[in-house]
């Protein structure tokens, strides 16, 4: 590509294209009549494919040695209030955008068998996806929060309508929990604006402002807990297993896979970057809570009998690793946390899509009621087993590196917590293997003789997710080289 072409390419607002292409799909979906279910699915899936392609392009064109934020677009939006439509990504943003695109696309594919209220489903899902893309790309605090809230609300109808198992309760609980987190953020974010002089909402510009130390100490918990609720931090994680259990497949995938990462991303972007002293001051207590997440989540998962509850609590445990990494405030910790965000996203998406497939046929998620699924539906079972292995931190999958980095950092900074977190790996293995043994191994249960094996079409998204896990599992440098520069800035910043 010669220079001239490169310049032309740069003029294409890539980030806006990523954020707004689902919006286009949303408009098309809303415009289509509800009976054109097939067309709606195709439009959504194509939009997912497009975002994957654009995200890959973003990844390829992102220069890790270049300026921190790239693909920056800035348009004054509410000039008299300092708000601008300001997009840009650093390496973390690129990785997260890629994650969202992958999960979005595979989620669309996984839902290709949906029959009921297709139009509304995809409309809400697209809204959710727009919000998530927006958060990852926003460099303006106003839009950051705007998109953040956009992403939260569709969860309610998505779970309450298409979910199962106490779905209305779960949907309400989830929404209220998350919005309660937002309630903490609302004053905190506004306060940041005024304290920094009340002229700009731009995150890079706010980051350049040295907030007074006492102010940071007071404000940081609001930001951490506010975003932390969405990241499933103990003791505010209760919404997450309940919500995941109730949600339909693709929603669980998006929710556990991507939405929970918004919380961690918020802590990173707003908390750690703007309030480094606060982050440092509170690192100890929050690291303890994060370790509780890891250990407690795994222990509770050991007692669960419902597939999705097991995954839900394992998510709590795995998100604990993210939170622990964030609280280390070392390059290793942050790299590990970000990598774990990515790995956990893909892994959980795989988990939920694997369980979703079984549930769709069996209408049962009781682990003890199954048996010998590996004989009945070997390929569908293999997806779950692969996800389980990844969840146990087996090398060769992306999460191994993430956990390793966090552990390396944690043992250095909080030795006791680090060792505890590593020991929790045993518990992780215990509960995961219990599921394997109960549901997939053992003699085949004649009750499920009618289960049919996954079709190649439905297997495609799962294969894709496995491939992503393996690629990043064997070549962690792909992701680490991308984010290293960005995390270094975060740790180095004041």
């Amino acid at each position: 590509m010669n220079d001239e072409e490169a310049m032309v390419m740069d003029r294409v607002p890539l980030l806006s294209a990523i954020v707004l292409s689902p919006l286009l799909a949303l408009l098309v979906v809303v415009a289509l009549p509800g009976r054109c279910a097939r067309a709606i699915k195709i439009v959504s899936t194509l939009s997912g494919l497009l975002t994957v392609a654009l995200a890959l392009l973003l990844w390829v064109r992102f220069d890790p040695t270049g300026p921190r934020y790239q693909f920056v677009e800035r348009v004054a939006w509410i000039p008299s209030f300092g708000v601008s439509y300001h997009l840009g990504v650093d390496g973390i943003g690129v990785l997260m955008t890629l994650l969202n695109a992958i999960v979005f696309f595979t989620g669309c594919l996984s839902m290709s068998t949906l029959q009921e209220r297709v139009k509304e489903y995809f409309a809400f899902m697209l809204m959710l996806v727009i919000g998530v893309f927006g958060v990852f790309a926003s460099l303006d605090l106003f839009f950051f929060f705007f998109f953040y809230e956009v992403a939260l609300l569709p969860m309610y109808p998505l779970i309450a309508i298409w979910g199962s198992t106490r779905k209305e309760y779960a949907a309400m609980k989830l929404t209220l929990f998350l919005l309660a987190g937002s309630a903490l953020l609302f004053p905190a974010l506004l306060s940041l604006y005024w304290t920094a002089g009340g002229t700009t909402w731009s995150l890079p510009e706010l980051a350049a402002f040295a907030f007074p130390e006492r102010y940071q100490l007071v404000l940081y918990p609001f930001i951490y807990v506010g975003f932390g609720v969405l990241a499933g931090m103990f003791p505010f994680h209760g919404w997450s297993p309940t919500g995941h259990v109730a949600a339909p497949t693709a929603v669980s995938m998006l929710h556990a896979g991507v939405l929970m990462k918004l919380g961690a991303f918020g802590i990173l972007r707003v908390g750690i970057e703007l309030l480094p002293l606060g982050a440092r001051y509170w690192a100890g207590p929050f690291a303890v809570l994060a370790t509780v997440n890891i250990v407690y989540g795994a222990l509770v998962a050991l007692q669960q009998r419902d597939f999705k509850f097991v995954i839900g609590f394992s998510s709590v445990s795995h998100m604990g690793i993210v939170l622990l990494g964030l609280n280390l405030l070392t390059p290793d910790g942050l790299n590990g946390a970000v990598l774990q965000m990515f790995a956990h996203g893909v892994m959980t998406a795989l988990f939920f899509s694997a369980v979703g497939f079984i549930y769709d046929q069996a209408h049962c998620r009781d682990i003890d009621a199954f048996g010998g699924l590996a004989r009945q539906v070997p390929i569908a079972s293999a997806f779950f087993i692969v996800a389980g292995l990844c969840g146990m931190g087996v090398p060769g999958f992306a999460s191994f590196w993430a956990e390793l980095l966090v552990f390396i950092g944690a043992v250095q900074r909080f030795p006791a917590l680090g060792v505890l977190a590593i020991v929790a790996l045993i518990v992780s293995a215990l509960f995961m293997l219990r599921v394997f043994r109960q549901a997939f191994f053992g003699p085949a249960n004649p009750r499920w003789a009618a289960l049919r094996e996954i079709t190649p079409w439905l297997a495609t998204p799962r294969v894709l997710l496995v491939a992503v896990l393996l690629v990043f599992g064997f070549f962690p440098g792909l992701a680490l080289d991308l984010i290293r520069g960005s995390t270094a800035v975060l740790v180095g910043s004041r």
Partner: protein, 476 residues
């Protein structure tokens, strides 16, 4: 003089519309004709107000110091005219209005609008009072037009009695102000406040505030709201909840602007009232099953949010309040479109009446969803940005705790808004037939929907107007 009348065009259009309706109704024409006449007047007023926003004619068409036309007043008038138009669009089928009153309803609505438009421009105490009463009495009459005598009367009587009490308080307050300042011009009052704060003047203004709080349904003057919302005809409530509220928002902004120079003491009162209003409103709304009553409590809570903005006594606060007032008008109206469409049989729709709405009328369900998102303050509806501005104003004053409470309240409120959404989107229709929207409802709903979303996604133009208006108020 011609030029001056041009300044008066929005009011004039509504007034002429009202006269025309009066003539037509006495002349024996049907409800249809009066409705169209009213609509024509309202549209003309809207056009005139928007025109004046665009080209900004300012001045004082009457006696200097009594009546002022500027961006602030015209912004309000545009909002009021919009509210009027939207409400009139909903008056196609007046199921809840007693047959004899159907022909009169537009007249009262127009008259109330005239009153509020005058209110927006009035810069003299007596004018203010007269305008206030004009709008109030028109609404008392309209509220009493309910089909079923007993409940209609009850709510009408309540409204009148409480309104009368508020009116008395206002009058007393005004007399105190006059006694303290020796003039009825607001400019003189402002000047007097700048010179110091004689107790008698402050108490007088406080009493004036009480009247406005009454219109806004702020605690402790909110008691009328649930009953009136429940007992009055749908369309009248729609007007009371939207246009009338905006009128009160505007005047309150003017009074607060006068007090902004030395707000000490008032801030605390505003804070307390804000917290109590929103908490009480939201809590009580949790328990409601009647959609109108739920909206009434939601309105009380929103009055609390507005007070958060007023309580900042700053340019940003006033701008936020004006912005929120306009957005709220559109959002609440969306809710009432649903009420009117579902309450076509004359009943008050309960939450169970919403069941299966997404099948019975996807468009209406979408409007309801947007309304609920807007009221809850969820983007991309305008309520989010509105709250952002309001709370930002409070935080500019460093009122972190207040904003925290307010934000917690929005979470609390989400519960009942989601219950509404749940009823509309989750519950099965169970044999309830499809809901057909009338043309007026369709237009009004779409307009409000677009406005809510536009304000949420690209708030800059409206907010810039509100900011300029707020600066004008404070400059005076």
């Amino acid at each position: 003089m011609q030029h001056d009348l041009l300044l008066f065009l929005p009011e004039l259009a509504v007034l002429l519309g009202a006269l025309l309706v009066f003539v037509l109704s006495t002349g024996g024409c049907g409800a249809r004709a009066t409705r169209y006449a009213a609509l024509a007047g309202a549209l003309l007023a809207l056009a005139a107000a928007l025109f004046s926003l665009r080209y900004g004619p300012t001045g004082e068409p009457f006696w200097p110091g009594i009546y002022r036309v500027d961006l602030f007043s015209q912004l309000l008038k545009a909002g009021l005219a919009l509210g009027l138009v939207l409400t009139l669009l909903l008056t196609g089928e007046l199921a809840t209005v007693r047959p004899g009153g159907r022909i009169d309803l537009p007249f009262f609505l127009l008259l109330a609008t005239v009153g509020m438009m005058l209110l927006a421009s009035a810069t003299e105490l007596l004018t203010l009072y007269v305008a206030l009463e004009l709008s109030a009495y028109s609404l008392y009459a309209a509220v009493a037009l309910h089909r079923e005598e007993a409940p209609g009367d009850e709510s009408g009587v309540r409204y009148v009695l409480m309104g009368a009490a508020a009116s008395a308080v206002t009058l007393y307050g005004l007399s105190l102000v006059f006694g303290a300042v020796g003039s009825t011009y607001l400019a003189d009052v402002t000047a007097a406040l700048a010179g110091g704060r004689p107790l008698i003047l402050v108490v007088g203004l406080l009493l004036l505030l009480a009247a406005l709080f009454f219109k806004l349904a702020v605690f402790p003057f909110h008691f009328w709201a649930p009953d009136v919302y429940q007992g009055a005809p749908h369309q009248v409530v729609a007007f009371v909840a939207t246009a009338s509220k905006l009128g009160a928002v505007g005047v309150l902004a003017r009074v607060c602007a006068m007090l902004a120079a030395s707000p000490s003491g008032l801030i605390e009162i505003f804070l307390v009232l804000a917290v109590v209003s929103m908490t009480l409103g939201n809590l009580a709304a949790l328990a409601q099953t009647d959609l109108k009553r739920l909206l009434a409590y939601s309105a009380i809570a929103h009055a609390g949010y507005l007070l958060v903005g007023y309580g900042a006594f700053s340019a940003l606060g006033l701008a936020a309040v004006l912005f929120y007032g306009v957005v709220y008008l559109a959002t609440a109206l969306l809710g009432f479109v649903v009420v009117c469409a579902l309450g076509r049989d004359g009943s008050n729709p309960g939450l169970d009446a919403l069941a299966g709405l997404h099948q019975r009328s996807p468009a209406l369900a979408l409007m309801l969803l947007t309304a609920m998102f807007g009221l809850a303050g969820i983007p991309p509806a305008g309520g989010f940005v509105g709250k952002w501005f309001l709370f930002a104003a409070a935080l500019q004053r460093g009122q972190f705790e207040l904003v925290l409470i307010a934000a917690a309240n929005t979470t609390l409120a989400l519960y009942y808004y989601l219950r509404v959404v749940k009823a509309a989107y989750l519950a099965p229709a169970e044999g309830r037939g499809p809901v057909l929207l009338s043309g007026g409802e369709r237009v009004a709903g779409s307009l409000a929907l677009v406005l809510v979303l536009a304000a949420g996604i690209y708030p800059a133009p409206l907010f810039a107007l509100a900011q300029r208006a707020a600066q004008l108020l404070l400059a005076r």
